[in-house]
């Protein structure tokens, strides 16, 4: 096992990935972070005027009147899943730090946005269900869709039992065909183009299913993002797509200002006559309501919609930048948890129990995954071609 050969911390200082970046969001100036945070809030305030949101189909208690009229059950479910996702990501980071994995990348801090996507998606396989073209900060969405913690840990630890890649790819590079989860790729932005094709097939099938695509703010500089806006909005050929951007204001170490001249990324969608809005992605209620409204709109009209969610990035870009906790940005779980406790929807004790329950589950899953097998050297030739048709030229 990797950890038995290299001492703890070796990879951080000297490993292939540790050497990549010695700086990170955590070590960059706090004033920059605070500035970005202030700007984020200001922009969300501006945008909220354009998109007043209400959810009509959910029951609410008196205590949740100011929480978008979502039911207590939904509110607690969201908090529960957000915590579960965070616990999992923090476990993945610990696995990396223990030398039991080579690299970590993930989405802690983006749970308030990711969880509602997973709860609202029409889950299933084939064109009659939603396709999800996600990027590598999508653990919250998949946890909300029912992915077991252990499957993420297996991926992190390159186990042969990893159901997404069989030990072939990085953490958070999920693939779950049973839920139409398209393979997550390392090249950023490509998912925006590929989603066009599934949306095209869904439109032909006529089942009101949609293609949901997520990505980061930095990835919108790639041409595929522009392709997505162009192809999804062609007159009389509009595609049923929910195009989203998780704007955490960073692209590895490049700040939002270092890349973007536009005020909001959502403004770009408006140029293509795509319905578009900006939400506070640190607020799961606002995110849930906005997502539901836009999904309903897409299913009803067959036309695309765009949401930019302003979120936090709480552990930097990846393990290459240290994966250390950032304290200068809003922690959406703390905010939401405090809110639910203050409104007496849940008690502090119950919240603590959720955390500890999932921490135990994650630890147990890690121990189990650790004992599972590794991919064999011989398996490199598997699945180059479908049905394991020979692809080794030596055997032609």
């Amino acid at each position: 096992m990797f950890s038995s050969r290299l001492p703890l911390g070796f990879r951080l200082k000297n490993g292939a990935w540790g050497a990549f970046l010695s700086y990170s969001k955590t070590t960059s100036s706090k004033s920059n972070s605070a500035k970005a945070e202030a700007k984020k809030k200001s922009l969300i305030k501006m945008s909220s005027k354009k998109a007043p949101a209400t959810a009509k189909s959910v029951k609410s208690s008196a205590s949740s009147q100011s929480l978008g009229q979502l039911s207590d059950k939904t509110l607690i479910q969201m908090l529960d899943l957000m915590i579960k996702s965070r616990v999992l990501e923090e476990r993945l980071i610990k696995i990396y730090r223990a030398g039991e994995s080579y690299f970590w990348i993930g989405g802690p801090g983006e749970e308030a946005w990711g969880v509602p996507i997973g709860l609202l998606a029409n889950k299933g396989q084939g064109v009659k269900h939603d396709f999800l073209h996600l990027h590598y900060r999508c653990t919250p969405t998949l946890i909300a869709m029912g992915m077991p913690m252990k499957d993420s840990i297996r991926l992190m630890m390159n186990r042969v039992t990893d159901p997404s890649t069989g030990g072939r790819n990085f953490s958070n590079h999920y693939c779950i065909p049973e839920m139409n989860i398209a393979p997550v790729t390392s090249p950023i932005g490509v998912q925006y183009g590929i989603a066009l094709g599934t949306a095209h097939a869904q439109k032909r099938a006529g089942a009101k299913a949609i293609s949901i695509v997520t990505g980061g703010d930095a990835g919108t500089a790639e041409g595929d993002f522009a392709s997505c806006l162009i192809w999804a909005s062609r007159k009389d050929n509009e595609l049923p797509m929910l195009i989203t951007v998780q704007n955490n204001y960073w692209g590895i170490s490049t700040s939002y200002e270092g890349q973007h001249g536009e005020t909001n990324i959502a403004d770009r969608a408006r140029g293509f006559n795509i319905r578009s809005r900006v939400v506070n992605g640190n607020d799961p209620v606002e995110s849930y309501i906005a997502l539901k409204e836009e999904m309903d709109y897409i299913r009803k009209t067959g036309k695309p919609s765009f949401i930019e969610a302003k979120v936090s990035r709480l552990y930097g870009h990846s393990s290459a930048s240290g994966a250390n906790l950032v304290t200068s940005e809003e922690d959406c779980i703390k905010s939401f948890s405090d809110k639910l406790v203050s409104k007496k929807i849940i008690t502090e004790k119950e919240v603590k129990a959720i955390w500890s329950g999932y921490e135990e589950e994650a630890l147990r899953a890690t121990e189990e995954a650790r004992g599972e097998g590794s991919p064999t050297s011989e398996s490199i030739w598997d699945h180059v071609f479908a049905d394991n048709e020979n692809s080794d030229w030596r055997k032609f």
């Binding site: 084939g126 064109v127 396709f131 990893d162 997404s164 890649t165 069989g166 072939r168 790819n169 590079h173 693939c175 065909p177 398209a182 393979p183 790729t185 090249p187 490509v190 925006y192 183009g193 590929i194 989603a195 066009l196 094709g197 599934t198 949306a199 095209h200 097939a201 869904q202 032909r204 293609s211 041409g223 595929d224 392709s227 162009i230 192809w231 062609r234 598997d382 699945h383 180059v384 071609f385 479908a386 049905d387 394991n388 048709e389 020979n390 692809s391 030229w393 032609f396």
Partner: protein
């Protein structure tokens, strides 16, 4: 006899009717043009895309991911280079997902010189394509093979790159496609769009039938004893011509049409070279890290002690482009005289 453009059209029409082909798309692929080489005229499922190669390949990947069959076209391979990472992803998706998502998509694109196409309508892509793992890569040299290879590509569960030698798009073969009218004029009347207003025109498709050329299988187009010439696409026809001319001079040349770049028919090459002891590989992609070098490597590794002469490769010169003036193009891509001389030199070489 159908020309290659007509053969491709017939294959696509057959696939629309019988192989659940749902989309044929690319720049100018739909009405009214039906493709810059007219290979997609009259099809029910063809449509025009934005002028966005990355969008075209992405769209094909998504359609395939959703389980539908499609054929996407990049108008000239010269414009495929900005999609190369998408081609990589299409090729590695099955592998990266440990066998979970296969992408049954066909991408076709015209390749090669021979029409005075200048710098950006003359590139080749066969050697580049051979380095994109997870793809099958085919290249016909006759209309019948174009028909059979395209049907095989569309049926294949993997991504397949169908390279169209553009200089051969108007060249007719000497074998009928099963179900093709024997009268060329009748075929033209029925499936070639008229000049001028096409808004009310509909093709009257002949009932062609299934004819498959297995991907990975070459074809011996000339039997011979003294040397093996392996080629594909446009230069295969040159190799045939040269073999016929040399036969009159008493020189016996065996010609192999490789047809599939990857996977390739090693058994056919090995058997032939073991017999002749001499081999020349001919193609027009650039010469440094040319796919023919891989074939020569393998010949040397597996047949070294049976060789009677050094294996040779004739390919495009390693310059950045193919210039428009005939002097420039002809000096860049392999010419008939050069190939013929090389064959004679190799035959005369004594171990």
């Amino acid at each position: 006899m159908a020309n290659m453009a007509q053969a491709i059209r017939l294959a696509l029409n057959y696939s629309e009717k019988n192989l659940q082909l749902k989309d044929v798309f690319g720049q100018d692929v739909g009405a009214p043009l039906g493709g810059v080489f007219t290979a997609t005229q009259g099809l029910k499922t063809s449509w025009n895309t934005p002028l966005d190669e990355r969008g075209i390949i992405s769209m094909a990947m998504g359609i395939a991911m959703a389980g539908d069959r499609c054929v996407a076209e990049i108008q000239f391979c010269d414009y495929i280079f900005n999609t190369i990472d998408l081609l990589k992803i299409a090729g590695n998706t099955l592998w990266c997902t440990n066998g979970q998502y296969n992408l049954p998509m066909t991408v076709m694109t015209p390749v090669g010189a021979g029409i005075r196409g200048s710098v950006y309508h003359s590139h080749s892509f066969d050697s580049w394509a051979s380095r994109i793992q997870g793809w099958k890569v085919v290249m016909p040299s006759t209309p019948l093979d174009a028909y059979g290879l395209l049907l095989s590509a569309i049926k294949d569960p993997n991504p397949v790159l169908f390279l169209k030698p553009k200089a051969l798009m108007r060249v007719r073969g000497d074998e009928l496609i099963p179900g093709e009218p024997s009268d060329e004029k009748e075929l033209k009347m029925r499936i070639d769009a008229p000049i001028g207003d096409r808004s009310k025109w509909k093709a009257d498709w002949p009932q062609t039938t299934e004819y498959l050329v297995e991907i990975g299988k070459g074809k011996i187009t000339r039997q011979g004893e003294q040397i093996t010439v392996v080629s594909w696409g446009r230069h295969l026809l040159l190799a045939n011509e040269i073999a016929d001319e040399l036969k009159a001079d008493g020189v016996s040349v065996e010609v192999i049409d490789l047809r599939s770049i990857y996977p390739y028919d090693w058994d056919m090459i090995k058997t032939s070279v073991a017999k002749t002891g001499r081999v020349l590989i001919v193609n027009e992609d650039t010469e440094v890290t040319n796919f023919g070098e891989h074939l020569i490597y393998r010949v040397v590794q597996e047949l070294f002690y049976q060789l009677l002469a050094r294996p040779r490769l004739i390919a495009g010169k390693n310059v950045p482009g193919i210039g428009l003036h005939p002097n420039l193009e002809d000096a860049t891509v392999p010419q008939k005289a050069e190939i013929k001389s090389a064959i004679l030199e190799i035959i005369e070489e004594v171990p």
